[in-house]
């Protein structure tokens, strides 16, 4: 049950109306960053204040919420945001991707394909894809208005000139519906093809005071060149716990001698595969004894 000292989902109604209007504008103009009056939240910037505000504006009492941090349900950020909404909105929470209606994520898209009945809320640190190329907001606004994205292609070209390939591995820029170039938040570029999905995707940047969105089934193209096409790369290993060869992997150092293992970054997906009997290189050999 939610704490009666708080309004439903923490924020006051006037704030939620303002955020909701920004979300609707974002959906109407896919990929465009809508300014909004971001509030102080009871957590520091960088811990998902934008995502939390967007989630708070979207939640209904009947929702089941899942929160992931880099794919994991059990890290500090995910646990504390989940608790925050348990306390202030009284919504049910889950770690199962399939059971969730609202999923707030920090830097991953779940491996399990999302459905039309789900909403994916991203936490975004720097919403402006052109910010590191042009620090002035007045100029980047103009560049978006004029659809002037040559600078971004120069950056990717310089990657190729210096490294032989496009070295950008996360926050890989995309163009939404052939118009706005957008930062998909720091998801690995492995996740970029999944940005075309059935669920509504909402992006909230609290410190930078921007909300943007991708409606379902929108065309989302990762920027590339004909001779250097976009490639959704991952570590070239199977998961050491569930054996999956098609998932995004974390590299974990396991001893002082340089030993390492690769495990699925999506803990729910990995756990479900293990429960189904899939085994990896370092899985405990429990069944063998029986």
């Amino acid at each position: 049950m939610s704490d009666p000292a708080y309004n439903f989902a923490y924020l006051d109604e006037q704030t939620k109306r303002m955020i909701r209007r920004a979300i609707l504008k974002g959906i109407a103009i896919p990929g465009y960053q809508v300014p909004f009056a971001s509030r102080e939240m009871p957590m520091p910037y960088g811990w998902g204040t934008g995502g939390v505000q967007v989630s708070a504006a979207c939640l209904v009492p009947e929702d089941t919420m899942k929160v992931i941090d880099q794919g994991a349900d059990d890290t500090t950020n995910a646990v504390s945001i989940r608790k925050f909404f348990e306390n202030t909105a009284g919504v049910a929470t889950t770690e199962k991707t399939r059971e969730a209606t609202v999923i707030q994520t920090r830097h991953r898209i779940p491996e399990e394909p999302l459905t039309e009945d789900q909403i994916l809320v991203y936490q975004v640190p720097i919403p402006e894809p052109l910010r590191f190329l042009e620090p002035r907001e007045t100029e980047t606004r103009k560049m978006h208005a004029l659809e002037e994205y040559g600078l971004m292609h120069v950056k990717l070209y310089e990657d190729i000139a210096q490294h032989g390939n496009i070295a950008t591995a996360y926050a890989y820029p995309v163009q939404v519906e052939g118009r706005y170039v957008m930062d998909p938040s720091p998801i690995p570029k492995f996740d970029n093809p999944k940005l075309e999905m059935a669920a509504i995707q909402l992006f909230g940047a609290g410190r930078e005071q921007r909300i943007y969105a991708i409606p379902p089934y929108s065309k989302v193209v990762s920027l590339d060149f004909e001779d250097y096409p976009f490639e959704a790369s991952k570590a070239d290993h199977p998961c050491d716990l569930c054996g999956a060869e098609h998932t995004y992997l974390d590299e974990v150092i396991i001893d002082d001698a340089g030993g390492r293992m690769f495990v699925c970054s999506d803990t729910d997906y990995c756990g479900e595969r293990q429960a189904d009997g899939h085994r990896g290189r370092l899985s405990p050999k429990l069944e063998a004894a029986q």
């Binding site: 109604e13 909701r20 209007r21 920004a22 896919p30 465009y32 208005a145 969105a213 929108s218």
Partner: protein, 189 residues
């Protein structure tokens, strides 16, 4: 002050506005989808869907334009009591309510600027009925195509040419609501 000025607002604002917003968001994110939206009722001819939409999205910061037969004392007082939004002319409106006939020509409404295309009007078009027949819709939020009984097509095709600027439309009938964001391409059936 007539009694219905004081009634018709949300009785449980946080929960009711949250559910209403989800209907509004689903409708806009999937153009052509018809959603149920309830919680508020205003004086006639304001439909329950339009009244709930205003209660969910508007406040003192959002100037509303009342078009044609919707510009009545009863509706003005209802908005003043429940929402507190200023009533304004077409060219200052952030929201506008009326029948399609009263709202046209829609070119009078703010469409935003190239830098800030979000500074545009949202139209709430009161309809007699809504159905998934008529004009064919394609674009963001639509897997293949969708159909919606739009009052006309030419005005929406013109509006689409302004993208990313332009107005967004909600269509309301009773407690049902559908939407047509500026991003949707419309073809006559």
């Amino acid at each position: 002050m007539p009694q219905d000025t004081l009634t018709g607002g949300f009785t449980e604002a946080p929960q009711q506005s949250a559910r209403a917003f989800r209907s509004l968001m689903n409708a806009l994110a999937r153009p052509g989808t018809i959603e149920e939206i309830t919680g508020g009722t205003g004086p006639a001819p304001l439909s329950a869907a339009a009244a709930t939409t205003l209660l969910t999205l508007c406040d003192g910061e959002m100037p509303i334009h009342l078009a044609g037969g919707h510009d009545t004392d009863a509706i003005r007082q209802w908005i003043a009591f429940h929402i507190g939004a200023p009533i304004c002319a077409r060219n200052q409106a952030m929201f506008a309510v009326g029948t399609w006939q009263a709202l046209t020509p829609i070119t009078d409404f703010p469409i935003g600027t190239p830098e800030y295309p979000d500074r545009s009007t949202t139209l709430i078009v009161e309809m007699d009925t809504l159905s998934n027949t008529g004009a064919t819709l394609t674009g963001p939020g639509i897997l293949t195509t969708a159909q919606l009984s739009l009052p006309e097509t030419a005005a929406f095709q013109q509006n689409r040419l302004l993208f990313p600027m332009g107005v967004d439309c909600y269509f309301t009938a009773g407690t049902r609501i559908a939407a047509l964001p500026r991003s949707t391409k419309v073809e006559a059936h």
